[in-house]
């Protein structure tokens, strides 16, 4: 059962001089157990799309349905949608308000009336899923390191046990170790059966980790599909603000020479292919 956004359009500041169209008839699907990346330049509409998935925004035209039921604005239904689709904003640690990590993580589930033992179970589950040290539960969230704060912020959304997790630039501001841990965590979340949507301007990370990619440019869909397919398309038709990772360009050059390597592949794979190729035609001396 997927989230389906069907042909949605949206504009900000309608009716004022600052009116700006953010989405133009974009369609999007994410299944449970799947990792979809939405990539595009700043202002391409990718964050606006993310905010439609949990009904923070309602489309001007088109529709969003969650697991087959069309989501309509109205406080009852949109609250249900918000629990099923957890949305993690960019720099989510800036929403902290509680004095302890525990209270911060309890916030979301308790807003839906979860209490007592069930609440504790929610918190424990979120803490272990996000790889957070349980000893930190009673500490002050503001006193943690950057990477730990990001985990607490994501755990605080996971704690409401959503079926989908939508993250806006989740790796922004993290160092290399922090990014690796986060990517690992998100793969775990996906493997546990949640639908993961990652909004990012980093084509490289989208190509390496996601199952499918949607590319937006100026509010419109440019291409969508598997990383391999999307990479092929962007090499042939450059998209504003998206840089083809050098290794993908390298793989493309190898393919043009007739080597059988996928566009998205490991370094070892390419080196092996080059070795075989060189072995076969020993004509170019050193």
């Amino acid at each position: 059962m997927p989230i389906v956004a069907d042909n949605i359009s949206y504009a900000y500041n309608v009716g004022t001089s600052a009116e700006s169209v953010a989405l133009r008839g974009v369609s999007f699907t994410v299944e449970r157990g799947e990792w979809v990346s939405v990539v595009g330049h700043t202002g391409s509409g990718k964050s606006t799309l993310a905010q439609h998935l949990n009904l923070l925004l309602t489309p001007r035209s088109g529709s969003v349905s969650i697991d087959g039921a069309e989501a309509k604005p109205g406080s009852g239904e949109s609250r249900v949608a918000r629990r099923r689709v957890g949305l993690v904003f960019q720099y989510p640690e800036t929403q902290f308000f509680a004095e302890t990590v525990r209270a911060e993580i309890e916030f979301a589930p308790s807003n839906w009336g979860v209490s007592g033992g069930a609440l504790k179970a929610c918190v424990d589950e979120a803490v272990s899923a996000s790889g957070l040290d349980p000893a930190l539960l009673e500490s002050n969230p503001f006193a943690l390191s950057g990477g730990q704060r990001r985990r607490v912020a994501i755990a605080s959304v996971i704690a409401m046990r959503p079926d989908y997790l939508v993250l806006d630039e989740p790796t922004a501001g993290l160092d290399a170790a922090g990014i690796r841990e986060l990517i690992q965590f998100l793969s775990g979340v996906r493997d546990a059966g949640l639908g993961v949507v990652q909004v990012t301007h980093d084509l490289r990370s989208a190509l390496s980790y996601s199952d499918r990619i949607l590319v937006l440019e100026n509010g419109s869909r440019v291409v969508s599909g598997t990383p391999e397919f999307v990479a092929r398309h962007i090499i042939d038709n450059p998209v504003r603000g998206l840089v083809i990772p050098p290794v993908v360009r390298f793989a493309d050059a190898l393919r043009k020479k007739g080597m059988n390597v996928p566009l998205i592949c490991e370094v070892d794979e390419m080196v092996r292919a080059i070795g075989i190729y060189k072995e076969r035609n020993k004509k170019c001396g050193s």
Partner: protein, 279 residues
Amino acid sequence: MRFMSAPSIGQFIPGESFIHGLDPRCKIVATVILMTGLFMASGIPDFLLWFCLLLLCSALSGIKLGVILRSGRPVLFLVLVTVVMNLLWTPGTELARLGPLRITREGVLLASSMGLRLLFLVIFAGMLMMTTSPMAFSDGLERIMSPLSLLRFPTSEMAMMMTIALRFIPTLFEETDRILKAQISRGADFESGGILRRARSFIPILVPLFVLVFQRAENLAVAMESRCYVPGARRSRMNPLKWRGRDSSALAGLALFVVFAIFCDRYLFKAILAWLAMR
């Protein structure tokens, strides 16, 4: 929907018009004169004159009338309350009666003039902010207040604070919108429950906002320091304020208008009305 959008008041609209080019001191003094004049206005015909002035301002600033009028929007509710209060609680000649509520002739007059006065006040203040860059505005204010610095009043620091405050209004509204959306995404509910519960529900908005503002302030202070800002030290200006002939003429013209408007309101319109009544 954007939950919080920056108010249109306080937003500078860059331009090169006559009004944009006036000295900020001229515009600040002009706004004070206009406000004084508005407090003396009382009759509906008088407000027609003021409206004509607004049309003139629109032409001289190159800003559309609709955009200028929109700066009155934030106070519409206040205006409405003022109008209703005056309409219902002014004693005098009865015009209509609805149960215990009496609407009087005096009430209608007072309500309309109070409402219009408030609206015009805000719109003219908005006009000042729309045509004056925040930096020029605080420069102007600093110079107007400069006699106070003799009394050790920190006018230049005050002006710098104002520049920064104005600069951060749009940013803070954006941040508030983001925090609000993030907490709603975590199930925050601002609509149900009693007053106490609702008040408590704003803690998850206010705490992050305060944290953010303090962080911003700290970072900004470091950035300003690294850009050689020393509080209280003498600064120069890229565009030093220059009082020109047209500033004097604009101010004189405006003063004449206000005197004329008050004269009309006090004598001319009354005389015309009296004359019409005699016929």
